[in-house]
Symmetry: C2
Subunit: 422 residues, 2 copies
């Protein structure tokens, strides 16, 4: 009933007040307080449920607020104080519930006028959260076993064009990819259930091609079917993929919410490929929202077996340093487990493999190239070969240009994508 366990949230804060005032307002607003004292907020209630300021670490002082709408104190000298504030919340206030955790650590407090910047940068959860959330059922080891790939990243592609192919146009593409020796194929996040591609027929067609190719090559490619949809559709589509012989489902996590993901995880029998599209609105402005460190913990807790992290030298705004931090955060144990695979995707090709391995020093990755495979000048098979060869070179420590001399697919990929990739 009552618990000694705590949830600990670390915030980057900016405020025209003192950091202590800001931290006190945050703690009160997100637990027992409101804008005036109320009679029922007794010492007993506070002891039971108040948030606690664990630490305050001052950072720089700036002259311009990062967010609009903050209200400075009357004697304000124009300074905005930045710092890291660590708050703890009694676990028994919310219990093992991601939705209620969010209302506590990432709810109304972004709107406080005492703050001119607020970002949740880390989150420590008590072990009791694992009583409700069992986490990924496959993770790295389970996915590797299903794909049959060890000692190197799982190499994959995205069906391109992202959206617009009919089933008749999709079939030959899947066939070619499945015969090429590729490990993994995924739908684009834009392509889940278009009206002109009935989901059940698509899964049937794709799996026919995959099984036929597997009969020929001995290798069954993993296809992540995008089942993103409303709650009832998740179940129906997961079950259809499973009974059709598919080995992976994909969801846009921000489209279905952490609770949609947790619901899928409850009954899923396949690895869940988690796409983070939309995470930019949460994270791109450094003075607002949520960093990847807490976000990925919630994704793993809710059951993502694979999680997108953008990519090194990718096509998006994110710096390589930030992507490296994301991969490291994702590979650190969470409550002793919750292992999930980082998915490097966006602007990837054979030209990006060497630097990816040099900077990350791990092969426990999925490396997904859409255009980098589909648009290889010698075709899709050459695109796949170039990715595999580029990773062979990287893992063996052989300079990619040297390795490419006797390998035309790799050489042509470097010529085609070298500048775009780097």
């Amino acid at each position: 009933m009552f618990s000694e366990e705590k949830v600990t949230a670390t915030y980057w804060v900016e405020t025209p007040h003192s950091l202590h005032t800001a931290a006190a307002v945050m703690a009160a607003e997100q637990s027992t307080g409101t804008f005036v004292a109320v009679p029922g907020e007794t010492d007993e209630v506070k002891r039971r449920s108040a948030a606690n300021i664990e630490s305050i670490t001052p950072l720089e002082i700036v002259r311009t607020p990062s967010l609009p709408g903050s209200r400075p104190p009357h004697n304000h000298d124009g300074s905005y104080y930045r710092g890291e504030v660590v708050l703890s919340f009694p676990y028994h206030n919310m219990g093992p519930s991601i939705p209620n955790l969010l209302a506590t650590v990432a709810g109304n407090l972004f709107e406080l006028r005492e703050l001119s910047g607020l970002r949740l940068i880390d989150l420590e959860l008590p072990p009791s959260f694992s009583s409700k959330y069992k986490g990924p059922k496959f993770g790295t080891a389970g996915t590797r076993d299903l794909v049959g790939v060890h000692g190197r990243p799982i190499i994959g592609t995205i069906i391109k064009p992202s959206i617009g192919l009919t089933i008749d146009e999709l079939r030959p593409l899947v066939r070619t990819l499945a015969l090429s020796g590729l490990d993994f194929i995924k739908d684009d996040e834009l392509n889940a259930n278009p009206l002109f591609v009935p989901f059940e027929q698509k899964v049937k067609a794709v799996m026919e091609e995959i099984e036929r190719a597997a009969d020929a090559t001995g290798k069954k490619v993993m296809y992540a079917f995008n089942i993103t949809g409303d709650i009832d559709e998740l179940r129906r589509n997961h079950d259809w993929v499973k009974q059709s012989g598919g080995t992976c489902v994909m969801v846009s996590i921000n489209s279905i919410g952490f609770s949609g993901l947790a619901e899928l995880n409850r009954y899923s029998e396949l690895p869940i490929h988690g796409h983070r599209n939309g995470f930019g609105y949460w994270t791109r402005y450094p003075a607002l929202g949520m960093a990847f460190a807490p976000y990925q913990k919630l994704c793993r807790l809710a059951g993502a077996d694979h999680l997108h992290v953008n990519a090194l030298n990718g096509k998006f705004y994110e710096s390589n340093e930030s992507v490296i931090r994301s991969v490291q955060a994702l590979q650190a144990p969470l409550l002793g487990g919750y292992d999930a695979m980082p998915v490097l995707s966006s602007g990837q090709s054979a030209a990006t493999a060497a630097e990816t391995f040099r900077l990350l020093r791990t092969c426990d990755l999925m490396n997904i190239a859409g255009g980098g495979i589909m648009a290889h000048p010698d075709g899709v098979e050459a695109g796949v070969a170039s990715m595999l060869e580029a990773w062979e070179a990287a893992v063996q420590g052989i300079p990619v240009d040297e390795y490419a001399r006797s390998r035309p697919a790799l050489r042509r990929a470097l010529e085609a994508f070298g500048e775009k990739g780097a």
Copy 2:
């Protein structure tokens, strides 16, 4: 199978490129294109599924990018171009699916390095969305009927302290409130299912107090039980509230996602009180995320009967102008209906009623005062009386100070909250 219907999304954009380049990248990235041309992107595929640039309206030019990570062109002169870009997407790309709509209009594009600012400011949905999403089952009229209040706002309060009361402490508070003539009570968003307040026992205790008060007064107060939780808990808790005689459930929309809300709406038999806590991370920085205009459409589509809009002269950062726009957006018909009640809450008291009515000119509101009722110097009954009296004065056009002369509850409220409220 194929449809002529379109989804139209309006964005505020900032870019170091030309607005046309930015719009073209957005349209390509979110439909048939990727970072290189791929063989399958035929004219036929484009005709079927490409997004279209409907209009580009230039705004000002600035010298500093609003978001980090944009990559200017080689010949960049230091200008960042702002403008409104309207894109349309073929409806058949996603069908009637809020999750897949989100991946399309609010997915990866926030991360594009061609942009230094991106905000979704409006969204027009085709009528076919209503084939899947039936919307609020109660709305304004249904809620008014259940509460028995017409011709003035529904006046409510929030159980305070927000979190920490045991059932034994909650009972007398509910009793007092229910006997006071109040229309509506809600749980705080922090208080859904704490370990020390088993949900079923709480509902039972609260409803006992409410029914007993209703027997005495003839008026049954509506209590919005916060059922926020994972998908399985939503159903169980909704059903328990319903069978216990409760008349409203509340959810934190961003905690359960639009698809969690839509799932609840599918089977709910009670009005759904939608709390928007956390919306600040989506909206507070003007150059990122989503404005309230599209957000509230998604909430209504997914089935919110009531929706929080902050409040005039509230305790949060938002300007009155912005709150007024929110209320007006929420009261404009969506696809010919989807009527939902705006909920004005945060820092409210008898002192805020007059200006609220002066600025909004509507009574189709819920006006919720937590501290403004609970912390009234003469107690909760006086707090309730002061709110009702303040609205009587406002609707009749009588200056509140004049009206307060013969009404001590109102007078004392103005003394206590006048400065804080205004």
